[in-house]
């Protein structure tokens, strides 16, 4: 004979949230910010091949923190969704908000109904054009979605990093300046992050359809020193 113990919904949600927060806090944070010509995403990542930031579509990028296997599956689903939607309709019909909503639904479902909540936080960034605005959508582990105005921080230490970056100039600056602020905010006053531990990517119009590009260590060093 088995015993079923009653667990109040409040308690269950609290337990699940704590579990997800603990998992997310184990990894390093990511900061994404809008600069004068695009969006820059900066992650602290010691691996050069297991990426946290990735291209989804022509003007959409993805960033994830937490458990790699969980957010990488969401990344793949995002690319499939975007390519499938663009194939069915047109490339201009692929919208970051729709994707962020799907992520929020799935992550939210897993939080309340899954065997365990996903230990991830997701960012969907969109570079604006004449049809759409530049957007940073953050999807938290429990499925809440937020539209972040100037920058977004994901990960365990998000509040502290957010405070540090919020203190910088509000009007969009150049890539070099914004990247510098982002790295300083991620590192904090007491340490410096070596360039080899930074994963940096941008969304910027450079005359071609695809706007995503990764910045290698040399490019990052040059931007940070200039």
């Amino acid at each position: 004979m088995s015993n079923f113990f009653y667990v109040a919904p409040e308690q269950m949600i609290k337990d699940r949230a704590e579990f997800a927060q603990k998992g997310i806090a184990r990894g390093r944070s990511i900061l994404a910010a809008i600069y004068d010509r695009g969006v820059v995403m900066v992650a602290e990542n010691t691996s050069a091949s297991l990426n946290k930031i990735s291209e989804i579509y022509d003007r959409i990028a993805f960033a994830g923190v937490g458990r790699y296997n969980e957010f990488d599956r969401l990344r793949e689903a995002g690319i499939r969704w975007a390519d499938g939607t663009g194939y069915t309709y047109s490339r201009e019909d692929v919208d970051a908000r729709a994707l962020a909503n799907y992520y929020a639904q799935h992550v939210g479902d897993m939080f309340s109904e899954g065997p365990k909540p996903l230990e991830v936080e997701i960012l969907v960034a969109q570079l604006g054009n004449q049809f759409r605005l530049t957007k940073l959508y953050r999807v938290a582990y429990e499925g809440t979605i937020s539209d972040e105005p100037r920058f977004a921080v994901l990960g365990g230490d998000a509040e502290t990093i957010k405070g540090r970056f919020a203190a910088t100039e509000e009007t969009p600056a150049s890539l070099a300046v914004t990247l510098g602020h982002a790295v300083e905010a991620l590192a904090g006053p007491d340490r410096t992050i070596p360039v080899s531990d930074l994963e940096v990517a941008i969304l910027e119009d450079r005359g071609s359809r695809r706007t995503f590009s990764r910045l290698d260590d040399a490019a990052v060093s040059e931007l940070l020193s200039g």
């Binding site: 091949s49 990426n51 990735s54 291209e55 989804i56 599956r73 969401l74 793949e76 689903a77 995002g78 690319i79 499939r80 969704w81 390519d83 499938g84 939607t85 663009g86 194939y87 069915t88 799907y102 992520y103 639904q105 799935h106 695809r210």
Partner: protein
């Protein structure tokens, strides 16, 4: 479409075609509706790259269109050309472009040129064996690993064959091929390969009713592209125009015959 999540054992991987199958994105097999078709496209290897020249005419029972683009960049280092059914061909180009980019985004690595060539085989096989709207593509590109231009042609069942010299597709092939066989040399440079490709296409347009030659009235000329270490490059109209004006002037001067040399 919802968020396409798969369990690890059902995952279609980085192949867009496998994903499209799993997600049911393909339409039903087509039947013969007398769709516009016919073409000539030639590809020529030269030292440092490949040239592709293709006509612009879509032909049904009459001329359906005079400015079709039959050559497209499948990605930065790959050109793809189509012959056969226009409807299926355009769909084929879309699928190829999407598949190569999809693979690159999923894996963070570009497919090799040979990988791209092989990937198209089963797509051609499936199309051609399931519908009468046959598509025959031609793939040419710059192999970044081996630093060489390469050409791949296909048969109707999807068989993929690499060509060391040149390749032709479409109804004007016999005429284009004859010109290429006489004019091809292994040490062609870019300019000579472009000129030979233009001449082969002129011959096809001159003899095959379903291949559009240069249209001096409407200022529409066959497309000419090169793919080399700097990637895909389409020649602007004034350059393609000058190639075909040159050929037409020489032919006019000799009363319509090529003469003893290739000209």
């Amino acid at each position: 479409m919802g968020l396409p999540l798969f369990r690890a054992q059902d995952d279609p991987g980085p192949s867009f075609v496998h994903f499209a199958d799993a997600a049911g994105l393909h339409g039903p097999a087509a039947f013969d509706v007398g769709a516009p078709h016919a073409t000539t496209v030639v590809a020529v290897r030269y030292v440092g790259g490949v040239v592709m020249v293709g006509d612009r005419q879509a032909t049904g029972n009459y001329i359906a269109s005079r400015d079709v683009r039959k050559i497209e960049a499948a990605d930065r280092f790959t050109a793809i050309a189509i012959s056969g059914s226009a409807a299926r061909g355009i769909e084929f180009i879309r699928m190829a472009q999407l598949s190569f980019e999809h693979y690159e985004k999923m894996t963070d690595a570009a497919l090799t040129l040979e990988g791209k060539a092989n990937y198209l085989s089963p797509i051609i096989q499936r199309n051609n064996l399931s519908t009468p709207l046959v598509v025959l593509p031609l793939l040419a590109g710059w192999d970044r690993g081996h630093q060489v231009g390469r050409i791949f042609e296909y048969d109707g069942a999807g068989g993929c064959y690499e060509r060391q010299d040149f390749a032709t597709i479409g109804s004007g092939s016999p005429f284009a091929e004859s010109a290429l066989r006489l004019g091809f040399r292994a040490d062609l440079d870019r300019a000579a390969a472009l000129e030979l490709g233009a001449l082969a296409l002129y011959e096809a347009g001159d003899n095959d009713p379903s291949t559009g030659g240069p249209d001096f009235v409407r200022n529409i000329f066959p497309m000419m592209v090169t793919v080399d270490e700097n990637g895909f490059d389409e020649l602007p109209v004034d350059e393609t125009a000058s190639h075909f004006r040159g050929i037409a002037e020489r032919r006019t001067a000799t009363g319509g015959v090529a003469g003893s040399t290739l000209r």
